[in-house]
């Protein structure tokens, strides 16, 4: 499964970024093979509509799940229509690597 994580830096060891629309990087992870790739979030450079730009990017990467600290109404509505599952980091997760492990162990809280 492809999952996308919001991150502060472009590495798996990066601290997670609790913001979705304005996170620095979006890290795409194949949760079966653990292959990953980091992308600059296209939302950060926008004066407005950052959430939508980031959400469109996640959709275009064919993700099935997205993980961040929270989701605003525009992003969450878009993901609902797209059928992409949203999960929250919660307080126990500090790096993307940890978040991937939590995700694989079904320990992340779903966003509703």
């Amino acid at each position: 499964m492809i999952a996308v994580f919001s991150a502060q830096q472009d590495a798996l060891e990066s601290p997670v970024d609790p913001r979705f629309g304005r996170c620095a990087y979006l890290i795409k992870v194949d949760t079966e093979s653990n292959e990953w790739e980091a992308f600059i979030n296209p939302g950060t450079s926008q004066s407005g509509g950052a959430e939508i730009a980031a959400a469109q990017f996640v959709i275009d990467k064919k993700a099935a799940a997205v993980v961040s600290g929270d989701f605003g109404p525009n992003a969450s509505n878009t993901f609902k229509v797209a059928g992409i599952a949203m999960f929250l980091y919660g307080s126990e997760v500090s790096t993307v690597k940890q978040a991937v492990e939590f995700f694989q162990q079904d320990k992340l809280q779903a966003f509703s």
């Binding site: 407005g48 939508i52 959400a55 469109q56 509505n77 797209a82």
Partner: protein, 287 residues
């Protein structure tokens, strides 16, 4: 002559100065007061206009005709404001992000987009007892975008060539302020002699400089804070056109809805002097 009153920092006295300046000029010819602070318009509290005309301010937003749409995604690609998203075969529209620019409609290869009016507020016009032409925009609460209302507000006014038009700008240094300043011959910047006043004054000075609008400053609440605003303005050679002291008498009068002239008649002459200085600065700038 079009004069925009702006400040950077909020609560420095923009509306006090704008309404008082309008009142001081009624014997000179047509005067317009245009309240561009559409998120919190308050000029009416000082000028008490009879608001007779009301029209809706709308943004024309896209509506996708599903039977024609092939979900090619061109509209999403051209939208600078991310008001559209493509999810599978569906195009989602986010009305609150749409600026109504029409790019999506223009670029749709299938002609599958029609534009529908999305109301975001009101445009109101009226007159005061002493003959000031009054106009204001009011953004509906929860609507996030003031700029289109300000743009439309400036289109509904029809001052003659010789009229003096006063734009009362919103606070801050963002798009809505830029829209309020657009087309102004002069920017009258109201500040207070505090670190916050100076910090935000520098921001608004940067904007008027970029927009090539000549500017002068009103220092309000003189007596509080420090000397840094004066030092900065002297250093940058920016004219101070009026100083208003920090006084209980003025504060009490303003809280009761009075303009400066109603509180102290000497402001009539002082504000007319401000206008004369603005006129000579603008003409000097043009020559």
């Amino acid at each position: 002559m079009k004069i925009a009153i702006a400040s950077g920092k909020g609560g420095t006295g923009k509306t006090t100065i704008a309404a008082s300046l309008a009142r001081s000029l009624i014997s000179f010819g047509d005067v317009w007061y245009v309240d561009c602070d559409v998120e919190a318009p308050n000029g009416h509290l000082f000028l008490n206009p009879d608001l007779k005309q009301q029209t809706r301010a709308v943004v024309r937003i896209p509506q996708i005709e599903k039977e024609k749409c092939t979900a090619c995604g061109k509209c999403v690609e051209v939208c600078q404001f991310h008001a559209l998203a493509k999810v599978g075969k569906t195009i989602l529209v986010f009305p609150q992000l749409c600026h109504g620019c029409g790019s999506c409609t223009w670029n749709c290869p299938e002609n599958a987009i029609v534009e529908v009016p999305n109301p975001i507020g009101l445009l109101e016009r009226g007159r005061t007892d002493d003959g000031i032409e009054f106009a204001r925009g009011v953004l509906t609460i929860s609507e996030p975008m003031p700029t289109p209302i300000i743009r439309q507000l400036k289109k509904i006014i029809d001052p003659c060539e010789k009229a003096t038009v006063i734009f009362d700008s919103p606070p801050g240094a963002s798009c809505s302020v830029v829209e309020s300043l657009r087309g102004a011959d002069f920017a009258l910047l109201v500040t207070e002699p505090t670190p916050f006043g100076l910090h935000d004054l520098k921001q608004i000075l940067g904007i008027v400089d970029d927009m090539h609008i000549p500017a002068g400053v009103v220092v309000n609440r003189v007596g509080i804070g420090n000397e840094e605003v004066d030092a900065y303005l002297a250093d940058k050679n920016i004219p101070v056109l009026l100083r208003v002291p920090f006084s209980k008498e003025l504060a009490t009068g303003i809280a009761a809805g009075k303009n400066l002239i109603e509180i102290l008649p000497e402001y009539q002459q002082q504000l007319q002097n401000v206008f004369q200085k603005i006129t000579s600065l603008v003409h000097g700038e043009r020559s």
